[in-house]
Symmetry: C2
Subunit: 245 residues, 2 copies
DNA sequence: ACACTCAACGTACGCTGTACACAACCGAGG
DNA sequence: CCTCGGTTGTGTACAGCGTACGTTGAGTGT
């Protein structure tokens, strides 16, 4: 097809054609995408052009041969992240330690990859490594004599806790980051921007006290992204599960 | 999404728009946006042009006088959804029923607004109605003699469970919806598309059994979006909290 | 020497949020 | 009555996104 729009400048003015520099592959692409999402602080930094640039590709279209679409790339990223999970081959006999261990492994993974929790629910729960984890959780409950339905019901609670808390942690991180961009303003004003007028509303004395404590740098609870906060929740959940087995 | 140039003042700090409007107003815009997200099955259906069209405005730019940006609109939607929460004015004396009630109210709200859980973590937890809920939860723990830090630690667990499960439910809904678009295909193929080859991998007998049971329409656990699944989790959590008070 | 294959590229398009300038309307002052 | 400044809605335009499609050129087999 002739290019109608561009009036064809003389060839002498055009740059020499670049030599092929790289050889692309799925693993390189996924690795680069994960690095971008890790460093860029979330999924909003991830776009095809950025991945291509990072790989030295001059256009994003080179990636499409390998990952088919951005959704496909995200699927691969999710699976690659889950491949980092520490999943035993079979139950140890201590169901509680087994479940706690898998959950903790998931939690640490979401800390390394803050984008994971926000993306995992945007796609079907597919992929070999998700299946690997699921198989282990099912086998733990099987050893307890529980059927698959029960295992799924409890398993969903563990996922919920890990991913839910991971998203709270990511959100908190983003809040402080956004703060850094305009630190010059009154911290009181900053609190107001987070909590609205309720921050100093006499009708809401406890929230007012909370924000005051935050401003003063006093203890306002565990950081949402801390292991302690995670372990508090997982142990509460396991208590409840134990009571229902 | 956000305006990069301007430091993006939060919507709560902006003056309320004049009330002299004839057709457009914040409430109309937010209502329309929520309806679109409710019906369209998620945040991906929400865009400024769709909202403007629904309101009879010929251009999306009309909205910007009232909501400042799409982020602002989302903030308003999140707060409007939380205004539907059933939050008592003060603790009843039964802390467990109080927390369970608020959580259940949140859960039902996320069922009415499937987009909520996916959007709530994309923004700072601001807004008068979020503050209203937080104040109540803090007051419940205050009556138990617990300090604010403890209350926050436990409160985060409740949020995590509600939102985490809500996202699993939304994801499941989306999976079946995507399915409806091409029902003609072999259901076995469909399972494979969700779970990969693991669905029939002899190395993963339990996942294979699970998918087989799903295909046969047998019991594979509570639907993630069911009240029963939610209550299982909240009761487990409350057990754990009770043991730690 | 040739054709064939296929990895990488460049162009272009539709959809998004939204900046900016303009138009249509308003109540108030001559 | 007619202007007038301010508010409210509109039209145009653009940058950034995912990605469809056709082109290019290096490698390979014959």
């Amino acid at each position: 097809m002739a290019r109608e729009n561009t009036p064809a400048p003389p060839i002498w003015l055009l740059p020499a054609p670049p030599t092929r520099t790289r050889t692309l592959g799925r693993t390189e692409i996924v690795t680069a995408a994960m690095a971008i999402a890790d460093e860029g602080g979330g999924a909003q930094a991830l776009n095809m052009r950025a991945v291509a640039t990072r790989l030295g590709s001059s256009t994003p279209m080179s990636l499409y041969r390998y990952v088919h679409s951005k959704d496909g790339l995200v699927d691969l990223m999710l699976d690659a992240a889950q491949s980092e999970l520490d999943v035993p081959g079979s139950p140890s006999g201590d169901w509680r330690a087994d479940l706690r261990g898998v959950a903790l492994s998931m939690w640490r993974m979401t800390s390394r990859h803050p984008w994971f929790a926000g993306l995992v629910h945007s796609r079907p729960p597919a992929g070999p490594n998700a299946v690997r984890k699921l198989e282990f959780v099912l086998s733990v409950f099987e050893e307890l004599g529980k059927d698959v339905a029960t295992a799924m019901n409890f398993g969903r609670l563990l996922d919920s806790h890990v991913y839910g808390l991971a998203m709270q942690a990511a959100e908190e991180r983003k809040m402080w980051q956004a703060n850094d961009f305009h630190v010059e303003q009154d911290p009181r004003e900053l609190m107001r921007s987070w909590f609205g007028d309720g921050a100093a509303d006499p009708e809401r004395p406890r929230v007012a006290a909370l924000t005051a404590a935050m401003l003063a740098g006093k203890d306002t609870g565990l950081p949402p992204g801390s292991d302690a906060q995670f372990e508090l929740g997982i142990d509460c959940l396991l208590d409840g599960i134990a009571a229902r087995l």
